[in-house]
């Protein structure tokens, strides 16, 4: 019951946020929409007993990534409005057609196709300790330790690369 309620409300918030991202003219407003979506996602994770992931989502995504976005928006200073017309003549038409196709297809599939969303779904209800730190840490440091180390490397390289790219060089003269 509670979960269903959470799902509906947070789902609506997420959708609203997503739409805001796409529609808002001011990029800061888009960032705010993204924030809404991210936070509602976090709640949905919690309701699905993915506690660690939810926390990481808030800290990393909402706390770091989004902040980065806002910093860059500030840095670049793009808060002017975008022009209404699209410079690319056919783009809107193509997207419209494709969207129509997708919606029709997906909608038809969902409504009339008799398929399983998750074919091998079990009827076991996961326990509340499903997504705790220790539960995630266990596979992380045993089965996926290689990927774990690789991502550590990735982050280092990414940080170094970003600094190298964006370093402000003072020009002489």
């Amino acid at each position: 019951m509670a979960e269903a309620l959470l799902f509906v409300t947070m789902g609506l918030v997420a959708l609203a946020g997503a739409v805001t991202v796409v529609i808002a003219r001011n990029p800061v407003h888009s960032a705010m929409g993204l924030l809404g979506t991210l936070l509602s996602m976090a709640v949905l994770y919690v309701s699905q007993l993915a506690h660690l992931v939810a926390a990481v989502q808030v800290i990393v995504y909402a706390g770091a990534v989004l902040t980065l976005f806002l910093f860059v928006i500030m840095l670049i200073g793009v808060d002017e409005e975008e022009r209404r017309e699209d410079a690319l003549p056919h783009q809107r038409r193509i997207v419209a057609v494709l969207s129509g196709v997708i919606i029709l297809f997906a909608g038809g599939l969902i409504l009339f196709g008799n398929f399983e969303w998750v074919p091998a779904a079990t009827s076991t209800i996961p326990s509340a300790t499903n997504g705790t730190v220790s539960a995630i840490a266990e596979p992380l440091f045993t089965d996926w330790v290689l990927a774990f180390e690789a991502t550590a490397l990735l982050l280092t390289i990414g940080a170094a690369g970003a600094i190298a790219l964006a370093h402000y060089r003072r020009r002489e003269g």
Binding site: L88, Q91, I94, L98, V101, I102
Partner: protein, 627 residues
């Protein structure tokens, strides 16, 4: 002994390779001596290996050198029988003498070593041809000597005349080769092999008269090309553009005899085709007469000898056409002696006269060049058929065999006799114009006798021209016995038996020869105005002879010009618009396609993203729909 037969071909071949790689580093005469030694070495090996045949009783052998295409009977194999042995001895013996002569003749030439590379290569090729144990290897040698002929005729390629002459030789030969190749194909389809062993023994049983005649005629086409008979002789006079040793070796003593050799070797096939025999003999006789008439009016010392060669080859064809194979080969041998001598002597004269070749500008050279004059005189008598020199015995045997065969061959005999008279005439004319009378040469020429390296081969050949005929007199037919094993399966034609007939026929040809000699002497042992008037007296005939009956001109208009027009049509009406058009058109289409597809590359990320999405949607829908 037969184990070392491969050396015969290998020595000059190695010489050619060696000189090709290192010739330029050798000081001048050394390259020539290397080449001469190689050929002389082949002669020595051949002589040693031929002893069993000379002593008599030995049978032919086939020595396999390398399996090349056994399925069609084409291996590198040597057939060592008296015929091939004799040919080898002639080629290497006379060839070695000519090599030595060339050391003197080519003195000072920039490409001295290169010349001997080609000469050695030629020797190796000719020996391949002659030693072949199957038609494929023979054809290999056949083509290679054609190549060497081309290379050597065009040796002085920087002059204007030699390159077209070389090309002409090659192209006309090619026409003959076409006939030869078709003949080979017929042989192959009939016998399933090209090996002599597989063909000649079975010929009697498996070859119909019609097929044999066809093969015989096709081989004649090839032989006519290589041995300069009607109608494919036109390349030989032009080939005189090459250095004189080349003319001596290739276009007198050896390469041009390949056609005669081919027919002699294929005797088993000709045995079954009387019609082909008649054709061969007739072509030979007519060519002999035709060429002799042209030789009468020539001014260039080498052209006389060129037409003389064509004429004498005609005699050889007459012989083999009459199935007097021994007579034909006999004349091949004696002709090699005196014709090589004549050419080398001419070379000696040309060398002394600083490359003057017009006989009207010579005269009186006997005093300055006694050795050359004497040896050439002996050769002239030999070719005129004056006994007891070599030419008499061989020519007479041919004429005798023709007479004996009778019927149509009697007519050919008359032609042969007439030709003998004319031959004696024009050869004596040449000798008198060059060596007797008052000097007529230009200012600045200082004729002198040639050095020993050139005169010694002349003397050796002179000796051979004198005594060479004695190997096959009617009294002691040594050559015939020598060659017998090679012609076991065919019936040889002989001159009439009996001393009486011999004296009669020989007497007739001697009379003809003496008549020719005397006529020439009378006409030309005169002051210049006299014999010039004599020559003018025969106009317009004399002019026609001098122009070789305008044959080159006729060929040019009837064959060459239409051929050129056809080639131009093919090039400009077919190749250019159609083939080039297709290729260029294909490229054009591709380019247009590219231009049509280019607008897809807008450069905008969002367009690409949209395309991506479209593709992804298509794939997903398709996957779901097919699941």
């Amino acid at each position: 002994m037969t184990d070392s037969l491969w050396l015969i071909i290998a020595l000059p071949l190695a010489g050619a390779v060696f000189l090709h790689l290192f010739g330029r580093y050798l000081k001048e005469p050394l390259a020539g001596w290397v080449a001469s030694t190689a050929v002389a070495g082949s002669f020595a090996v051949a002589l040693a290996a031929a002893m069993p045949f000379i002593q008599g009783g030995e049978h032919s052998q086939t020595v396999l050198l390398w399996e090349w295409m056994p399925a069609i009977g084409a291996n590198l194999e040597i057939l060592w029988d008296p015929l091939s042995a004799l040919m080898v001895l002639i080629v290497t013996g006379v060839g070695a003498l000519i090599h030595v002569f060339a050391i003197g003749y080519m003195h000072g030439d920039e490409r001295f070593a290169r010349f001997f590379t080609y000469l050695n290569l030629f020797a190796a090729s000719m020996l391949t041809l002659v030693l072949a144990g199957n038609y494929a290897m023979l054809f290999l040698g056949w083509e290679l000597v054609g190549l060497c002929s081309y290379l050597l005729i065009g040796f002085w390629y920087f002059k204007t005349a030699p390159p077209p002459a070389a090309k002409k030789a090659f192209v006309v030969n090619r026409i003959g080769d076409f006939g030869f190749m078709v003949g080979l194909m017929v042989v192959f389809t009939t016998f399933g092999t090209l090996s002599y062993a597989g063909i000649f023994e079975r010929a009697g049983g498996e070859l119909t008269t019609g097929m044999a005649t066809l093969v015989g005629l096709l081989f004649l086409v090839g032989a006519a090309g290589k041995s300069a008979q009607i109608p494919l002789y036109v390349w030989l006079p032009d080939a005189m553009e090459g250095p004189t040793p080349v003319s001596a070796l290739i276009h007198a003593a050896t390469m041009v005899t390949a056609g005669v050799y081919l027919i002699a070797r294929s005797a088993a096939i000709y045995e079954l085709a009387p019609a082909a025999q008649v054709t061969v003999a007739t072509v030979g006789a007519l060519t002999a007469l035709w060429a002799a008439s042209i030789a009468v009016a020539q001014r260039d010392i080498k052209k006389v000898l060129a037409y003389s060669t064509i004429s004498q080859l005609g005699y050889m064809f007459l012989a083999v056409g009459t199935t007097a194979y021994v007579a034909g080969i006999f004349h091949l041998m004696t002709h090699a002696f005196f014709k090589a001598l004549l050419f080398l002597g001419a070379g000696s004269v040309i060398h002394a006269m600083s490359d003057e070749q017009d006989m009207h500008k010579m005269g009186g050279l006997r005093k300055v060049m006694p050795v050359t004059a004497t040896t050439m005189g002996l050769a002239t008598l030999a070719i005129a058929g004056i006994p007891p020199l070599a030419g008499f015995w061989s020519k007479d045997e041919i004429l005798g065999a023709s007479f004996q065969r009778g019927g149509w061959f009697s007519v050919l005999w008359v032609i042969g006799l007439l030709t003998a008279l004319i031959t004696a005439f024009y050869m004596t004319r040449q000798w008198v114009l060059v060596f007797l009378g008052e000097p007529r040469w230009d200012e600045g020429k200082h004729p002198h006798e040639s050095p020993a390296v050139m005169t010694v081969p002349l003397m050796v050949l002179g000796l051979l021209s004198v005594v060479g005929g004695l190997v096959n007199t009617p009294a002691r037919q040594a050559l015939e016995h020598f060659l017998e094993p090679a012609f076991e399966i065919v019936t040889l034609q002989h001159p009439p038996e009996g001393v009486g007939m011999f004296v009669l026929l020989a007497g007739l040809s001697v009379v003809a020869g003496l008549a020719g000699v005397a006529a020439a002497f009378l006409a030309y042992r005169q002051p210049r105005e006299a014999w010039e008037a004599f020559e003018h007296g025969f106009e317009p005939l004399w002019g026609t002879w001098e122009q070789a009956y305008h044959v080159d001109d006729i060929y040019g208009r009837v064959i060459v010009a239409p051929g050129r027009r056809a080639a131009e049509a093919a090039a400009f009406s077919v190749d250019l618009p159609v083939i080039d058009g297709a290729v260029n058109g294909a490229a054009y289409v591709v380019r247009r396609l590219g231009e049509w597809a280019r607008p897809l590359q807008t450069g905008f990320v969002r367009n690409y993203g949209a395309l991506l999405l479209a593709g992804a949607v298509t794939v997903v829908i398709w996957l779901v729909a097919s699941a």
